[in-house]
């Protein structure tokens, strides 16, 4: 009996270890709480950073996150998750409304939408009045001129100085993600609709009616669109993508902040752009705790800059960290660089714009 008991005790002990190794239940080694959530793909590397992991661990948290398109999150079954962290306010509002989440949403950091191009293409844009370069080296993308080119069906072959660029053929357009699934695509529509509505945010059906042809056009000409911001950026970096791609500034700045090469990539700030307010919706107390930490913890703020984000609570951190690095030129202060922000329409109107863009 005794021996059997000993074997059983050993098995129980092994079983306990086994359970910890295989399942890592909440509150495993030393009171660490596992916080589960869904994040936009642009934040994957931030949460994977060993220093972020270490700082969260020091705060007794471990994040287990899966990436997905921001608008996909709003429609997804989020059961079992502690938080959702889309790339903009609108899907966050949608998630809060659908799940009756109380309390203010937390916006730990933000990042403006930018257009990326290879240097020779940026020069073609400049010589055709579609882009400008300031003395500071900051490039801007001239949205009114661009939308005018779209309205008039301008092709690359209509522009001057395109000879020798085999990749510059067909219509001039900016490639975005699918506005129905991804926040960068939807924010692009916010920016286009604001400009098309004489610099007023679209707020009603009459406004949607005024801009719907243009938002449909900038979407339809792209054909199939990727669901998440990671896709078009990776395509661009692998040298096969479209010449003009809309991405988050953070996607490029992350590479630069980490000293990783981006070749001849140029960052063009649309002269009227939209910033993505990376907005955290805490679905449980643990999720809310994580949201507060991301906003307030000095170490996590500094680490956010490593991934190209601009911390809300520390406006100078981005420029300080990026200025010393080799690579594309960033605008440390957006308003000083003359870059205006388009307001984002209410969720209901934005949804109408997305439907108009998709021809629904």
């Amino acid at each position: 009996m005794r021996r059997v008991g000993g074997v059983l005790a050993a098995l129980v002990l092994l079983g306990g270890v086994l359970f910890a190794v295989l399942h890592r239940a909440p509150a495993d080694d030393g009171g660490i709480t596992v916080v589960k959530g869904v994040i936009g793909s642009e934040k994957r590397e931030f949460f994977a950073d060993p220093e972020v992991v270490a700082e969260l661990k020091a705060q007794h948290l471990r994040v287990d996150a899966i990436t997905t398109g921001s608008w996909q999150m709003a429609d997804a079954d989020l059961t079992g998750n502690d938080f959702a962290f889309p790339a903009s306010l609108s899907p966050a509002e949608e998630i809060r409304a659908k799940r009756g989440v109380s309390g203010e949403p937390v916006r730990p950091f933000y990042s403006p939408l930018v257009v990326i191009a290879h240097a020779p293409v940026a020069e073609v844009l400049r010589s055709n009045g579609l882009a400008a370069r300031a003395e500071s080296g900051v490039w801007t993308f001239r949205m009114d001129q661009y939308l005018d080119a779209v309205r008039r069906d301008r092709n690359w072959s209509d522009l001057k100085d395109v000879a020798g660029h085999a990749e510059l053929a067909g219509a001039v357009y900016v490639t975005t993600t699918d506005p129905a699934t991804s926040s960068s695509g939807a924010l692009h529509l916010a920016e286009v609709s604001y400009l098309a509505n004489e610099r007023r945010v679209v707020s009603d059906e009459a406004g949607v009616g005024r801009v719907k042809d243009l938002v449909r056009k900038v979407t339809a000409m792209q054909g199939d669109q990727k669901t998440s911001s990671d896709g078009p950026f990776k395509d661009f970096l692998s040298n096969v993508g479209s010449p003009l791609v809309l991405v988050y500034e953070s996607q490029v700045a992350a590479l630069t902040a980490q000293g990783r090469p981006t070749g001849d990539l140029v960052v063009l700030y649309p002269d009227t752009t939209v910033s993505s307010d990376h907005t955290m919706v805490g679905l449980t107390d643990n999720g809310k705790k994580l949201a507060d930490l991301l906003r307030d913890d000095a170490k996590l703020r500094a680490l956010a800059v490593r991934y190209g984000f601009r911390p809300q609570g520390d406006p100078g951190a981005f420029g300080t960290a990026l200025n010393a690095k080799a690579g594309p030129v960033f605008a440390p202060d957006l308003s000083a660089a003359g870059i205006q922000q388009a307001p984002v329409p209410a969720v209901k109107v934005l949804n109408q714009l997305v439907d108009a863009a998709k021809g629904k």
């Binding site: 059983l8 098995l11 092994l14 079983g15 086994l18 359970f19 190794v21 295989l22 793909s41 949460f47 994977a48 950073d49 060993p50 972020v52 992991v53 471990r62 994040v63 287990d64 899966i66 990436t67 997905t68 996909q72 429609d75 997804a76 290879h118 069906d153 092709n155 660029h165 085999a166 990749e167 053929a169 067909g170 219509a171 357009y173 699934t181 979407t219 339809a220 000409m221 792209q222 054909g223 199939d224 669109q225 990727k226 669901t227 998440s228 990671d230 896709g231 990776k234 395509d235 970096l237 692998s238 040298n239 096969v240 993508g241 479209s242 590479l255 990783r260 090469p261 981006t262 070749g263």
Partner: protein, 543 residues
Amino acid sequence: MSMRTVAGRVLLAGLAVLVAGCTSAGPGPVRTSGDPVAPTARAGVLRVLAGSELQDMAPVLEEARKATGVSVQFAWTGSLDGADAVSSGRADGKYDAVWFPSDHYLRLDDGGKAKLATESPVMVSPVAVGVRTSVLGDLGWGDGSTVTWAQVADAASAGKLSYGMADPTRSNSGFSALVAVASAFSGANSALTDADVQKASPSLKQFFAGQKLTSGSSGWLAQAYGRAEPGRIGALVNYESVLLSLNRTLPADAQLTVVRPTDGVVSADYPLALLASAGQSERESFQRLTAYLLKEDVQRRISETTLRRPVTPGVAPAAGLPADRRRELPFPGSKAVADGLLASYQNELRRPSRTVYVLDTSGSMSGGRLASLKSAMARLTGSDDSRGTTRFRDREEVTLISFASRVKSTKTHSVPARNSGAELASIDRDVQALGADGGTAVYSSLEEAYRVIDRQQSTAKDDRFTSIVLMTDGESNEGASADDFKAFYQGLPSSGRAVPVFPILFGDAAKGQLQGIADLTGGKLFDGTGSLEGAFEEIRGYQ
């Protein structure tokens, strides 16, 4: 059973898992830090529905298993069939992830899009034209770096360039090429519309006049290129990576020069996509595997192993991958346009097919087997087929040879170029009238099929994709022997020897005999023992 015994068994089972976990994780390299999901390598299996092109990732995935503890279990299918499986929900619970050259087609379906939780491009390869280097010289195309799709179409319609291309209704490489040429020929400046497809049709017909080989998979296409008589096939349309990899095994006189037409390409970016239905443990395995595959050293290894291009910044592509850029042609943004283009290809643009079915109706087929055959054939005459994947195509010539101890009947149907419903119904009536009795004379019946084709070719003097499907449920026990058939086949003129036989394994068929027939004629053996319908449908990609 006492509680204690139950607990003991559970623990023992758990222990076995632990041991198995250690074993399969293997003595791989120590994990690098930075992956928060898995502090230690753990056993995990990811069931992945994938395009067969990804077989070349085997060495990388073996290293991934050692480093992450995640093993990938592949099930292979074509890109578009895979998209159907995901959209319809058939992949839910059966697979954890999908990995195709592209999710373009899948994304066009809102239902399919919702089935994917997340996707991450892993590597990139444009669809290109591999031109036999000697042919390149004859065409005056220099090193191939300035060739356009229009030049390819001109050479094809002038009979100077014959090529192989996979079936666009099944394979992403064929579909991408079809989109690229339709864009180029229509002069579309942005994503294709129905009007663009109409406008491109005459040029597309010229282009497809040169298509001499079709295939349901890019693997078989490469084999067929290898065994075709010298000079018969001058080019292959396929991924840049497949063409360059093929050069590693081809003899000097068959080497291919990769042409990426300067008017634009459609590229595959191989997104590894997690299904929304996947469980928690699989989702962790997915994250670990994706993070590993995107590491700089792994991306370099992928590029060198597969000759695809890396997606992680700062990683140089493998030697031999040219750096000059091409316009990336937009993919259609609506399923209606995509399906319309595919249906036009099948029913209007491509060279028509001559398809001969040699169907065993011996005594052993009676009952359930004959019923299976009839329902499988009925699928090919149905109308529920939006992109023209399965049914007999407009302009297709279909011959049904029913045999037992000898050929019982031979019936030929020509599906008209439009209003094909009546002829399809007539084919189905012939199929439903089949009855089973008698022995099994496989080889004699095949010989008759070749004679029928020879007569049809000399009467019509036309130029069609020609092939034979052989369905039998038993061993050949009457008529000509395997050796007789081999001698017969080798005595055929080259036009006859170019006709492959696609045998279907069914019932008590002799696998060795059927494999021998496939090998001799340059065909491919299909397994109908699981699903006869599935085999008949899959073969459509080769006809």
